[in-house]
């Protein structure tokens, strides 16, 4: 009963407008990589899924988008919450996933393990939603590319290992490659595959 109750509570209070709010934030964050888009806690998923990552999942996922969860999120309450509110099936492998939710990016598998899309359909790659503590306390990333006038800087905490090197490889696969949504407890920022990470400062 507890899990059942947890799984049905905490969805969008106002599904249409809440989903639009989240979608707008994701769209703006993708259009201006590195910009930080604040997002109120519109969803209340069971732990360890964060409110922000949960809201992004509710806005973007549905029955047609297989979803992959990292080991930390393989919790039955999280699975049934996502199942009830999005209808998204769980992907068998990361390469089948349209979206991936990752609670512990520092321990995540390599980016090239996810679907990279095809040359004909590069849109079929996985969009990764990474839960990060904040966007200021990690190693600084200097960003360049479409949607950035000169440069932008973010410093997400707890990023994947060898992230800058992995991202360079992701860039080289263009037009294929993954896109990343970084979700803190109250904001999101995005790294689309077109963004280049120029250098990293200590």
């Amino acid at each position: 009963m507890d899990i059942a109750a947890q799984s049905i509570e905490g969805g969008f209070a106002d599904p249409v407008f809440n989903a639009q709010t989240v979608f707008r934030a994701v769209m703006d964050a993708m259009a201006r990589p590195g910009s930080v888009q604040p997002l109120p806690a519109l969803a209340h998923p069971p732990a360890p899924l964060s409110a922000t990552a949960g809201a992004v999942a509710l806005a973007l996922c549905d029955n047609d988008t297989p979803l992959w969860l990292d080991p930390a999120l393989q919790v039955s309450a999280v699975k049934s919450w996502l199942g009830f509110h999005t209808g998204a099936p769980l992907a068998n492998t990361p390469a089948d996933a349209h979206f991936a939710l990752i609670a512990t990016p520092a321990e995540m598998m390599a980016l090239d393990g996810f679907s990279q899309g095809t040359q004909d359909y590069p849109d079929r790659s996985t969009t990764l939603i990474l839960e990060v503590g904040d966007l200021i306390s990690g190693a600084a990333l200097l960003l360049e590319g479409p949607g950035i006038e000169k440069t932008a800087t973010i410093a997400p905490a707890q990023m994947p290992r060898h992230f800058v090197e992995q991202w360079k490889q992701n860039n080289q696969r263009f037009p294929r490659g993954v896109d990343i949504i970084l979700a803190t407890f109250d904001a999101i920022a995005c790294l689309p595959r077109t963004t280049r990470i120029k250098m990293m400062e200590a």
Binding site: M1, A5, I8, G11, F84, H85
Partner: protein, 153 residues
């Protein structure tokens, strides 16, 4: 224990089937007559969407997608904490909400009998009658072949 659980699930499914098959107006009328509570917290919907209907190649082979159908669903929670669901073909949101409440009330031992007797039983009787009538009307068009004897002696 497992047997009881399975039986209970089968009964609940049958109740949901009856509600889904019945017309919204009939459910509303019986609900009003029964004076059952119709307050519940809406956890999801009522909302209308699609399901893709699947058939099988040759009738029994591999599945394929035939087309879509409109479905309206609702999920409610009663003050007692019981959660009820409804999925039904069509776009009748009031029906979906009431059917979800009926599903929740049915799970509450305090209300199960009342739901069974006042709502489900009359609906089921009406459905069975309509079904039997349709079957009998079709049966009247059954061809009875007579063997004709040809030629003399």
């Amino acid at each position: 224990m497992r047997g009881r659980e399975a039986r209970e699930q089968a009964e609940r499914k049958a109740v949901m089937a009856t509600l889904a098959q019945s017309a919204g107006d009939d459910i509303v009328r019986l609900w009003d007559e029964a004076g059952l509570p119709c307050e519940a917290e809406l956890l999801r919907g009522p909302e209308t969407g699609l399901v893709t209907v699947r058939g099988r190649i040759g009738g029994g082979g591999a599945p394929f997608n035939v087309g879509e159908a409109t479905v309206t669903r609702a999920t409610v929670r009663l003050a007692s904490g019981h959660v009820g669901h409804c999925y039904a073909l069509g776009r009748d949101k009031q029906k979906a909400r009431l059917a979800a409440i009926a599903d929740a009330l049915w799970q509450d031992p305090a209300h199960r009998n009342e739901v069974e007797i006042r709502i489900v039983a009359p609906l089921q009787a009406a459905l069975a009658k309509a079904r039997e009538q349709r079957r009998a009307e079709t049966a009247a068009t059954k061809v009875d072949f007579f063997t004709m004897v040809r030629g003399e002696d």
